[in-house]
């Protein structure tokens, strides 16, 4: 499951040992396309990785903090530290590969 969180709830992602944060926005077409694919991947990886979604319009400070310059942007966090990012839509296989290499 990809959990939608606000800026105030972001500590949940930071507290996670391994998390993927999907920075997106309601008006962004590729974000809307990526969401169902990420949902599928999150089911496949349940228990191994936590998945979160942050709306950059509601949390602009977080977007700036993580250097999000284009969306959708997937940020991989390890104990709250950013270790990698991927920008743009990815098909399921490539998305799985990107996350697995950061596990």
């Amino acid at each position: 499951m990809v959990k939608k969180i606000s800026a105030k709830e972001f500590h949940e992602a930071e507290a996670s040992k391994a998390a993927v944060v999907d920075f997106s926005a309601s008006w962004c077409m590729p974000c809307g396309m990526l969401a169902p694919v990420l949902e599928e991947v999150s089911e496949d990886m349940a228990g191994k990785m936590d998945f979160f979604n942050v709306d950059i319009d509601e949390a602009p400070d977080l977007a700036t903090r993580f250097g999000v310059a284009s969306i959708p942007c997937l940020v991989v966090l390890k104990d709250g530290e950013k270790i990698d990012q991927s920008v743009g839509f990815l098909p399921k296989e490539a998305l799985t590969e990107f996350i697995e290499k950061n596990m």
Binding site: P36, V37, I56, P60, S70, C73, P91
Partner: protein
Amino acid sequence: MERYDIAIIGTGPAGLSAAITAKIRNKNILLIGSKTLSPKVEKAHTIQNYLGMPEVSGAELQTAFTDHLADSQIEITEDKIHAIYAMGAYFMLQGSGANYEASSVILATGVSAGRLYEGEEQFLGRGVSYCATCDAALYKGKSAAIVGFSPKEEAEAEFMAEIADKVLYFPMYKDEVQFSEENTKDKIEVIREVPVSVEGSMKAERLVTRDNSYDVDGVFFLRESVSPAQLVPGLKMNGNHIEVTRNMATNIAGCFACGDIVGTPYQYIKSAGEGNVAALAAVSYLDQKKRAQK
């Protein structure tokens, strides 16, 4: 939304040949391109090695292709596809005019001569983007440089200026540029200079032209056609070409490619042959998928 069996992008010899073969195999197809087919065919002086048509001119070949399409009752949808998303079970195609869904896709868009600017790829997604309307909201209170390759990109600059503080517009065409929207025209500065590179550290910080350097928060390159890797996110490339197997299959299941876009030699008859292979491979992919569902 109607879901086509096969969406074919491109109306050069590869795309047309794929469309005709797919139609013969009774597939519900969507052919996207131009009713004038392909400028590369139309403008060819003479073609000497197109089987059965010795010394044919480009214009004659274009007419023959058009007649063949009419005979096969194939319609061309005139639209520009900005992005194709592999959703797993199907593909979502985002066009200028509409969005489309298809179970498989054949890419036959030809090679674009367009060259990337220095730093463009390096900062892609980190301040460099190809869609101003997509990323505009990130530029609230910021500045952006927009390099527009056709007058229709002026609308994108105006959209950006509604949100950003400052927009520098670099027209890459000769037509006069006139921004008239009352609420945005003062925010847009038109600069007739030739961009050379994008520079920065963590992210793009400035656009360098032959004469000057401009500090901006983002740079947008709005071209007539996007590169295949931009068109289909996740697509595996081999240099400027799409990597394909002998069956014209790309690394994405259900997505095939043919013609100049997959590599040299750039020959009309080679493209037509590959279009045929791609269509038959797509048909077999659809059959297998259907069987798996049963």
